[in-house]
Symmetry: C2
Subunit: 338 residues, 2 copies
DNA sequence: CGGGGCGGAGAAACCGTTTTCTCATACCAC
DNA sequence: GTGGTATGAGAAAACGGTTTCTCCGCCCCG
């Protein structure tokens, strides 16, 4: 069906070994004439080396796998797409796997190992219990697969064999919450879960402003806007004094806002709202939503350069890079700063 | 590094060929005792057959690749995730590729061919010019890779070697536009592009209601809500008589709504709005958005059964399945039906 | 008692590369 | 003329499986 190395070799009139070395730019003593012929014929026959034969022999696949989470948040889809687009520049074949959909962690790792990739770029590897990711890193590292953790939120000991590039989400939520307190006073609540460092940032803002009472509407992360809506209704009932709400995500903010309006309050006059993720619609929402944005481009280009380094065989110690989010202030909080 | 077939064979005391046949459940004459031993030892040593060696020999990879588009629409991300989750049930290793991010179609096909997958499930294969997809299908089919086109909008000749499961988007937009006309009268505009059959449905609704003037705000699909916002401002200026707008997507609808409100009009009293995609937030938006929803679950389960059939070697003629979207009526159009 | 058939298993080819090792010729210096 | 070394290229092993073919011994039947 497809053209093999042997066919090329036969057509040129040399042995496969020569052709292999020439096409792979390996040092080989061959006349310029023959070299030229080989390249021509390979091109003419549209020869593509067989991935499987090649990997079987050399033990190393050129493949890079991007492990990415699918979720309710468009934010994730955008990050994945940008990362994919960027990483493509290494020239290595790139495929994506979504590991979270596996019931059994073991099966997931098997899939990852099966393809023997050169590297795995792992976006938001929050998954399973704490040590799971570190174990997977070790196992992959033993098989000479580099792991690059992008946007992993947990603390990573320096000896875990992977590179890490992280955006400090706790800092992002700290920025948002501090701003909310400045706008709305001390009665600022948070609607969301404890994951992703959001809670930490909320608490830091409170304590920095000398507020010792936190108001939290807990979310289980199921069905983003719906649960936030219901939780907020209850929260406003219990705490009518609330004047600001930090939402776990922009999507959740929509549920929160609906609940607020149903109680007859207006935004931002009665309650200030901030979201998180900088979804593309936040600017066009009514009211335009104050939100936290991540430096996606920087994240992508850093990931690329780290990946490229590893692919080039660069053997530096594991990197631990931290980036900072920024606050985008819009009408859902604006005009009330004190 | 990893355990090979030979090691298992040696430990049991038989030849690799026996072990291979036993582990693959191929017909082999072997005593129950030996069979048992082989299975035990393989398990004990945690033996995993090498993908590359196996594919090299057999010519066929067990892999299934899901080709999925990343885009601005959360809808797509959700479809991809559900499909991925569903297709996992075949038990075949499943990876994902995003082909649209390639500059060169040829490079994309090469990536697809490189892994010699058993099957490719291609979600929304709108890409390149019309015949490109059909050519790719032929090429893949020659290499014995099944293609299943999910949600491909163009007309597919019966002899194109792929299965197709499609949701009739033209029908979806027809439903939405007919409803808008019933609510808002004959001055119903559309904001969007001609892709995805939306325009066709809009025109069908107009002509069925005897309206011969169409009002269209063209979108280039770049940056969804922003462009829709700008286009709508112009449209309302040119056509102050507009009383209904069908939006290409829910996300675009947010831009449209912002523009409408800035001109001092209210929804749905002055203008009725319908979107498309049934994004999770449409119900929580203010006002809740009338939208078109696709039968995702049905799409997924049909895809799975078609895929499973092909993997099982079922050789029926190419299927052409059509599904229908449904309209979800909410407050952005409600209460004005005539 | 001889031959056919079957149960159990081994030997070896093969898939398409990469890589190491060997080999022949030619040229140069001595 | 001989030894050494470039130069150009071939032969063959290896990677880890799958698959086909062969082989031996045993039982059963005629």
């Amino acid at each position: 069906m497809s053209v093999t190395l042997r066919e090329v070799a036969e057509k040129v009139g040399v042995t496969p070994s020569i052709v292999s070395r020439v096409l792979n730019d390996k040092p080989v003593r061959v006349s310029d004439d023959t070299r030229q012929r080989i390249i021509e014929v390979a091109d003419e026959l549209n020869y593509r080396p067989d991935l499987y034969a090649r990997v079987l022999q050399s033990g190393k696949s050129p493949m890079v796998i991007l492990v990415a989470p699918r979720s309710f948040y468009l934010m994730n889809a955008r990050k994945t797409a940008r990362l994919q687009q960027t990483l493509r520049r290494t020239g290595h074949p790139l495929l994506t796997a979504d590991i979270r959909l596996f019931d059994d962690p073991r099966a997931a790792i098997d899939l990852l190992l099966l393809t023997k990739p050169r590297a795995i770029v792992w976006l938001s590897p929050e998954w399973g219990d704490d040590s799971e990711f570190e174990e997977i890193c070790s196992e992959l590292h033993e098989r000479e697969t580099h792991v690059i953790a992008v946007d992993y939120q947990k603390q990573l000991p320096p000896d875990v064999p992977c590179d890490a590039i992280t955006v400090d989400r706790a800092y992002g939520s700290y920025l948002a919450c501090r701003h909310l307190i400045d706008c709305a006073g001390e009665n600022v609540a948070m609607v969301g879960g404890s994951s992703g460092g959001r809670l930490q940032g909320y608490r830091r803002a409170l304590s920095e402003r000398g507020i010792d009472r936190e108001i939290i509407g807990w979310l289980s992360t199921a069905e983003p806007p719906r649960e936030a809506y219901q939780v907020t209704l209850g929260l406003l009932d219990d705490h009518p004094e609330i004047e600001g709400i930090f939402c776990y995500s922009d999507l959740n903010a929509m549920g929160v806002i609906k609940a607020i309006r149903e109680t007859g309050r207006t935004i931002p006059d009665d309650i200030c709202i901030a979201g998180y993720d900088d979804e593309p619609w936040t600017e066009f929402h009514d009211p335009p939503l104050t939100t936290v944005t991540h430096p996606i481009e920087q994240l992508c280009s850093l990931s690329l350069s780290v990946l490229q380094d590893r692919l080039d065989g660069n053997d530096e110690p594991w990197c631990r890079i931290g980036l900072h989010p920024a606050l985008k202030i819009r009408a859902s909080t604006a005009g009330r700063e004190k």
